[in-house]
Symmetry: C2
Amino acid sequence: MGALDEGHFNEELENGVCLGDCVELGSEGEPEYPAIEDAVRVLLQGLGEDINREGIRKTPHRVAKALREGTRGYREKAKDIVHGALFPEVGGTGELVIVRDLDLFSYCESCLLPFQVKCHVGYVPSGKRILGLSKFSRVADVFAKRLQDPQRLANELCKALQHSMKPAGVAVILQCSHIGYPNIESAIPDSNHQGWIKLLVSSGSGVFEDEKADIWADFLSLLKFRGVTDRPLNGIVEQQSWCPSHSLTKTPTNSAMTEAVSSILQSLGEDPSRKELVGTPARFVTWLMNFRISSLEMKLSGIIQNQRDCLNLNGDVKLSERHLSLELNVPFWSQCEHHLLPFHGVVHIGYYSAEGVIPVGRSLLQTIIHFYGFKLQVQERLTKQIAETVSTILGEDVMVVVEANHSCMISRGIEKFGSNTATTAALGRFSTDPSVRAKFLQSIPDFLQSAP
Amino acid sequence: MGALDEGHFNEELENGVCLGDCVELGSEGEPEYPAIEDAVRVLLQGLGEDINREGIRKTPHRVAKALREGTRGYREKAKDIVHGALFPEVGGTGELVIVRDLDLFSYCESCLLPFQVKCHVGYVPSGKRILGLSKFSRVADVFAKRLQDPQRLANELCKALQHSMKPAGVAVILQCSHIGYPNIESAIPDSNHQGWIKLLVSSGSGVFEDEKADIWADFLSLLKFRGVTDRPLNGIVEQQSWCPSHSLTKTPTNSAMTEAVSSILQSLGEDPSRKELVGTPARFVTWLMNFRISSLEMKLSGIIQNQRDCLNLNGDVKLSERHLSLELNVPFWSQCEHHLLPFHGVVHIGYYSAEGVIPVGRSLLQTIIHFYGFKLQVQERLTKQIAETVSTILGEDVMVVVEANHSCMISRGIEKFGSNTATTAALGRFSTDPSVRAKFLQSIPDFLQSAP
């Protein structure tokens, strides 16, 4: 009997417990948002993809579902959440209450990529009413789950809490992290680039309206050790510097793609002619076109052939005379083909090189990694492709580990902010000798979550 | 025009954007699970509460909703999630893939309290099929969102992935944290008690079935720096030591309450006669009865009077001759009256005492904190009550800060694992002099999240 046999599976794994209202999860069949799905198909075709390829066949459905879910704030109201969760406190409190470290994500209205938010809310109750603590998170989500700009998000959240609760005052501090853009032109990113652009914004109302009020000092005292070191000032942030899409120089020539993005904005309930959104479709398409199939193909094959000639691999060097070379923490970027969302992180490469042979340069490895990164990908395939290509240059004893943060793990229903993924590919001695593999794996440093 | 006026509010805060399918959120009106709500009313009455009191009037509804949501795994199937997210990889990969640091929570089947889980999954694909990364989180939730025991959770997740994906092997490591129980008898908890009981469990199938297989070493290498230091062994954990409810000695005498808990188990789709659940209603009621109204009342008033007499407060000492005394990180426990879920953390107390007067003992402050903690509470009220009581003993210049983790912030829909809450109450000089307040606030150390 097959393990997936209905009866067997249910009995063994589900304890036979399944109430009448069993829900179907993960069903990715019927189109729910046909206009968005059509638009995503246009984008995939613009990237040179075969929209019937197995891995991306259901991508339009997944993208549409994720976008609708990620912008559900348009269909929610703060006051519906606050209403019914305001509790009277006999005698009142009138004292500062702080809800700290709420993890949220939002969509950047400039480029449509998700950004992460660590949200801190402070308020001083009045009228002897306090708000249930979980509601701060729910109200924050009403405004985060839209196309946003950090300062507007802070202002809207602050204003909504002030209007719906009518406290003595509300303060909001957001620590926002936007994915940085790689410099695809040079194919070698700034090695100091941590992959995130950070921005701190704040907003205050009522007793927090004056940013010099003592209550701000109290609030900030209770946020110390969170990187909120200095008192932030409302509204003086240079907004142009936040989203890296504003520094893009290329403009897309594929008007079908930009129109498709416009239609997506409309389907989400936005007005594509809103001034902040006017350039968004072009910026999103420019970003996306980084991942056009084969954009780096020609470049790489020349480099590899050249490098192989120079290295003059000597197969006669005995294994025992070779030693483990490491190239750790090489940054990479890619685009998840299942969700059209970026994933990025670091690649670690271990290989055996002969004594006296100069190890291959980091820049060549970076070029190979970029070649396989800048396309629609899955991390498992990326890892294998890097290992195989490196082995054509450096010989058969190669192991690759890729560690990544996936936007699709945070900016969708599951919202697993801290999670990350490691994939491996071991060739030659690495696949056969556990001690060789262990030596490499143990040399890999801790993978740092650099998001907030 | 009032700020909550419908039109004004929508126009200003919602950008006028609200599609036809606006959803009602946070509505807490109509009963959805009447059997559970009735049972919760029995529990509240058993705690000596007035079920019509404003703060807890809707608690039965909230508890029922949270319990249904927190056990939705009974109504989900792993294979529905995996089905449709298995992607063919041309050439296959056959290499270890790891999804790390998935934050989950589950309900302890021994005591019905939620416990937190940091989940790591590794698998080796076969048959040229890989699973979409987010599905590991979704499948884990199918089994986490039930009444569970850590080892069974690991086994069920491992088995479900093995059966539905048919990979070469699956490994699961769970780092579980259960809230510890305070020792209410002594009213002074162990000062080393971090408030969490931790347990590491693992499960393996296929190539991971043999825990000595080299693939386990690879998996663990890529989990280093996560506190998974040594290779865990399957199934040798002393299960009795995990849930602190097993060491409870008192047994509840209120059979209406235990019967109510049994009926809740049944409403959730569980079998109350399952051997692991037989003692659960009694254990849960025993835990809950810690928070019976006024259980410590008599004890406290005697202690306070006694202490006041001893301290012989001298109102004539000039303010300038008094100095700031601190009592930091005093542990506390309480039970959220909105959700019948524990919140716990630390209390910081600052007060001015006269030179030469011996500061009040930490144990008295701990007793006062326990007195206000061990009942159905909200953190804001708890903070104010501690401050007011302390000031009757130590004079008017008192400030209290309470920092807490709320189970209700993780074990419900919002699942904000890292979030925590700070509340303040400032009396006398602390309320009027910002510099005095600042001096106290700046002396408060970082609040450590000790959960995984």
